[in-house]
């Protein structure tokens, strides 16, 4: 039974007070361009997920607290939470740096695409991770 702390309201509690929403930073193709989505891209969006041994990035909801969604960086081996951050934000730079494998590649593209987000978005949809405005808490 994990202990989790909500970065929005600060409530700390058992895992059962929260709801895990699976892998973070998956962009929804239809939100940006509903008319031009290849079958394969839709399939990847729905079903393809990372399964890292080590640092992972997830969505959680403060289910029995403020009801808000947030992001968490969690080590799937030690189960340690390395960071909590806003649902519309990318991980803190120091944590992002620790990412390996698919996540390292993902963040490389996500951050490289930042100045020209639209271009990067076509291939690696990551708009949701790099929004214009961050949510205050």
């Amino acid at each position: 039974m994990l202990i989790i702390q909500c970065p929005v309201c600060g409530a700390e509690g058992d895992e059962t007070d929260f709801h895990c929403g699976g892998q973070a930073h998956i962009a929804r193709p239809a939100t940006s361009d509903p008319d031009n989505i290849a079958d394969g891209d839709q399939r990847d969006y729905l079903f393809m997920r990372f399964n890292p041994k080590g640092l992972h990035f997830e969505r959680w909801r403060c289910d029995r607290g403020c009801g808000k969604w947030f992001h968490a960086a969690r080590d799937t081996v030690s189960l340690e939470f390395k960071a909590y951050y806003g649902i519309t934000e990318l991980p803190p730079a120091d944590v992002m740096k620790q990412a390996t494998g698919q996540w390292a590649d993902f963040f490389k593209q996500a951050t490289a695409g930042r100045p020209a987000a639209k271009k990067a978005a076509k291939k690696t949809p990551a708009r949701k991770t790099a929004p214009a405005k961050a949510k205050k808490s």
């Binding site: 600060g10 509690g13 007070d17 403020c66």
Partner: protein
């Protein structure tokens, strides 16, 4: 036509227990009106309009409450509050809030009938809470004025610590769970089941 007949959620059980056969006294709070208020805490317009209607600033710090006269505003989320007032004033207050808020992005709903409120009173109240919930009610900041959502006896609930001495905690549950929650507390708060955590009992 005759007057509308009102039935409180726990009208079918004893109105209150004097604590003779339980380690705490429990009773139904049935005269409380509740208004669900949603709006953006960051919006000055919203906060001012709400204050104009309520006569009090909304509590902005998580898990806190604001009290004025017969009204208590419970913080529920960064954009949600539960305004508690006497039941017979809820309709008027709802209208007033809606009117003051006008076109400011917000949602005001009279939910006076959505929840049942059970009041726990006595030194053992915190212990009973901790039999039903994983929240630590002995934390230093879990004092009068604290409100938090939690899982209590496996259902979604809201706990409000009203006073510390004597210890009074109001548990809000959705109305349909009233009977279940009441019976759960009756089964759990037996005097012989008292633990007295850390030699306590009196907080």
């Amino acid at each position: 036509m005759s007057d509308a007949v009102y039935t409180s959620p726990l009208a079918h059980v004893a109105g209150s227990r004097d604590g003779a056969d339980l380690s705490i006294s429990i009773s139904e709070v049935s005269d409380r009106g509740m208004i669900d208020l949603r709006g953006e805490a960051g919006s000055v317009k919203f906060r001012q309009a709400a204050k104009a209607a309520l006569g009090i600033d909304l509590p902005l710090k998580p898990r806190t409450t604001a009290v004025k006269g017969d009204m208590t505003v419970l913080w529920l989320s960064v954009d949600q509050w539960l305004v508690c007032c006497p039941r017979n004033k809820a309709g008027v207050l709802t209208d007033k809030l809606r009117k003051n808020l006008g076109t400011v992005h917000s949602l005001v709903v009279d939910v006076s009938d959505a929840r049942a409120i059970i009041r726990l009173e006595g030194d053992n109240a915190r212990e009973v809470m901790m039999k039903g919930s994983s929240i630590d009610f002995t934390l230093p900041d879990y004092k009068a004025g604290l409100v938090r959502r939690l899982v209590f006896a496996e259902i979604a609930a809201l706990a409000h610590i009203v006073t510390d001495k004597p210890c009074v905690i109001d548990i809000y549950v959705f109305r349909s769970y009233a009977d279940y929650t009441w019976k759960w507390i009756e089964a759990t708060a037996k005097p012989a089941a008292t633990i007295g955590l850390f030699g306590a009992g009196s907080q």
